[in-house]
């Protein structure tokens, strides 16, 4: 047992932290959050030069060939710094291509993703807002050499700038909701694809994607017909841990900012950090972060090793959803009035905590999965 990071991972962490603090300061974060595009093409190019989009893409497809655990090291840093843009949704989209794509599809898309030439996102949620298979109603009907997709996807990250979307649609009505789901790689330039940004608390450009008679070539079917649900489940697991890793980074930032503020802010003739009530809250914030940390690391490690870990993933996501809310909320409260100001950085994390909570399964969704995994009938 060795619960430390390797030297290579620590180098990746430091490099990412230094890069992001220089290239994506909070002024740029706010600018991008307020902008229409939501990301910086210049910054995107620089990250491509570092190989970030291709971090977990195998070298044979022009990627860096790193592990899933290495990715979570990077994501802790993007979460800590805050990085608006389609980096994470693009990286996550590579997983279903790697899991289920044909050799032609891998060769067509992965190298371009790795060099930053393509932006991808995944379109899973619909009107019901559930990550259960029953929430998928968009239909894909075969027509000649294509499938024609009709339906509306919601909360698709950065869809308005994405080149392609990995879209889950129903190709057959099966005995259970999990049967008859198929994944497609949809070119967003295809006639009938309409993206509109939904205003959300974290200003993270989650989109409504209306698909009206969108023709997708059969060669862009990802994996087998009607058998897409297991691929979606794996993506949900990886997405959940990815969000958890970002959340750990965000909690770290909130804790550090709050401690620093409590040492500078003077009231009643002393730094407010000298008052025990606040000291205990900060100790609780730190503990909440630290108890999250190793739970996430365990799930990330198991995922990296290819070990079955759906229970651990759901445990981590359910736990971290609440922890990030708790830490970021107390971060605001311990800053007092200034913590509620739009100009202050601490509320950014509170907003991101809500977004992270809803992505890839909320607390109660994952708790139900845990309930099943611990043996409740």
């Amino acid at each position: 047992m060795d619960l430390t990071f390797s030297e290579a991972q620590e180098i990746l962490r430091k490099m990412a932290r230094d890069f992001l603090s220089t290239e994506c300061p909070k002024t740029l974060v706010r600018e991008l959050q307020d902008s229409e595009k939501g990301y910086s093409p210049d910054l995107w190019k620089k990250m491509a030069e570092l190989g970030w989009m291709g971090l977990i893409i195998p070298e044979e497809y022009e990627g860096m060939g790193y592990t899933f655990q290495d990715l979570t090291v990077l994501l802790e840093e993007t979460g800590r710094n805050i990085l608006p843009g389609p980096l994470v949704c693009t990286i996550l989209s590579t997983f279903p291509i790697l899991d289920a794509g044909s050799e032609e599809q891998k060769k067509e898309f992965l190298p371009k993703i790795a060099i930053g030439e393509l932006i991808f996102s995944t379109a899973l949620l619909e009107a019901e807002g559930t990550f259960d298979a029953s929430g998928i109603a968009a239909k894909a009907t075969p027509k000649g050499d294509d499938f024609v997709i009709n339906g509306t996807k919601l909360f698709v990250e950065m869809a308005h700038v994405a080149d392609y979307l990995i879209c889950a649609a129903r190709t057959k009505d099966g005995a259970s909701p999990e049967e008859g789901i198929t994944l497609f790689i949809v070119d967003t330039k295809t006639p009938g694809v309409h993206c509109e940004v939904i205003p959300t608390i974290a200003l993270d450009k989650q989109c409504e994607v209306r698909l009206e008679n969108v023709s997708v070539p059969k060669k862009n079917m990802l994996g087998e017909l009607d058998k897409g649900w297991p691929i979606v489940q794996k993506l949900l697991e990886k997405g959940a841990i990815a969000k958890c890793a970002e959340s750990i980074g965000g909690m770290q930032a909130a804790v550090e900012m709050t401690i620093a503020y409590s040492k500078e802010r003077v009231q009643y003739g002393r730094p407010i950090g000298a008052f025990q009530a606040l000291q205990h809250m900060m100790a609780d914030m730190w503990s909440s972060m630290e108890t999250s940390r190793y739970l996430v690391y365990e799930a990330a490690w198991m995922e990296s090793e290819g070990l079955p870990c759906s229970k651990e993933v759901s445990m981590a996501k359910a736990y971290v959803n609440e922890a990030y809310n708790y830490v970021s909320k107390w971060g605001i409260r311990l800053h007092g009035g200034i913590g509620t100001s739009r100009d202050h950085d601490i509320p950014l994390y509170y907003h991101l905590a809500k977004a992270a909570d809803t992505a890839f399964g909320g607390t109660d969704f994952h708790r139900e999965l845990v309930a099943q995994k611990i043996g409740l009938i």
């Binding site: 047992m1 060795d2 619960l3 430390t4 990071f5 390797s6 991972q9 655990q69 401690i259 409590s262 040492k263 002393r270 730094p271 950090g273 000298a274 008052f275 025990q276 000291q279 205990h280 900060m282 100790a283 609780d284 730190w286 503990s287 630290e290 108890t291 999250s292 940390r293 190793y294 739970l295 690391y297 365990e298 490690w301 198991m302 651990e312 445990m315 981590a316 359910a318 736990y319 109660d364 708790r367 139900e368 845990v370 309930a371 611990i374 043996g375 409740l376 009938i377």
Partner: protein, 394 residues
Amino acid sequence: MDFRFTDEQMARRKEFLEVCVELEKLKPAEFIGFESTYNYDSCWEYDRHCAKEFAKRGWLTLEWPPEYGGSGTMMDRVLFSEARGYHGIPGIDVFGVGMLAPTLLAAASEEIKKEFLPPIAAAEITWCELWSEPNAGSDLASLTATAVKKGDEYILNGQKTWTTGAHKADWGFGVFKSDPEARSHHNLSFLLFDMKTPGITVRPLPYMNGETIYNEVYFDDVHVPAKNIVGQENEGWAVVNTLAGFERSNIDQIMGMVRGLETLVAYCNETKRNGQPLAKDPLIRNRLAQTACDIEAARTLAYRVADLQNRHEMSLMDASSLKIFASDLGERLALLATDILGPYGQVKLSRWAPMNGYWEALYDECFVFTISMGTNEIQKNIIAWYGLGLPRMK
């Protein structure tokens, strides 16, 4: 990062589990948790039997240096605690094995080590810890019981309280004021003494459930050999604060909760209310799942602490954080379980009590973990002052 154990560690773990499985079969019905050890004669005998089984295998000294009989690492000790915790097996003298032995190894003279370590290793002598006083709990340094040097003896006078198992223990270790004129933290001495020494009176301090776990201990001119000192005279405070070598993973308590949750799940699957198993109630599902997540968070942090200790590193912050989290979780779990049990949640061990009255007992006993070994509030101070660098109010 690697959460796996080596083949050797897995083999040891298997061995620990096999012995604990067999010992669990001998557990008396009234043994519901560690506190039962002190409250029932049958449980005390069971505890001693387990201790001897462990001693003969060298398992009470696993992480000790080899020259004192150690045969493994701190991680082996943690794996042993894991097995004992899951099966609810006592036999580790919390005070002798858990606290005094690592303290002696870190701070005592060779003579003291030679005299006192072997009987601990052999489970021949049991110990109690005499620190707290009526006016000195969290603020231990303000204690007033005295140890006055006279020739080659110390004469002890005063009163200790909350002394776990004093009514059973063979020997005691305590801290006494040995120089009333010296400045605070440099006026205390750490002494070892036979609990049968004339002048020592033990009176039970019944716990809120009526059990005899704690005691008041009175010292009336108790003569103890001056050689039975750990560390230097008047420098006992530093000895009290020796945490090096203390196993701080709390994994035994956490594995007890793992086991507890399993029994609760089984109970909910088998027990009906309103025409359906409790397991189908969405609120019960949600709360049990939440607890399962919390327990896993505790378990992974426990391994973090264990890994650090195995490398002879210590994160005071992680250890304090874990102590707070695991003990608070025990309280929450007891509340949840007794909620799920409905009116049966209040029933003591008897034919009406589900799961042997385990949860009713834990509902009362959970405070043992939140208050002792440094209250959770003190632990938060430790995190804040020594971990986060926040200023202490003068």
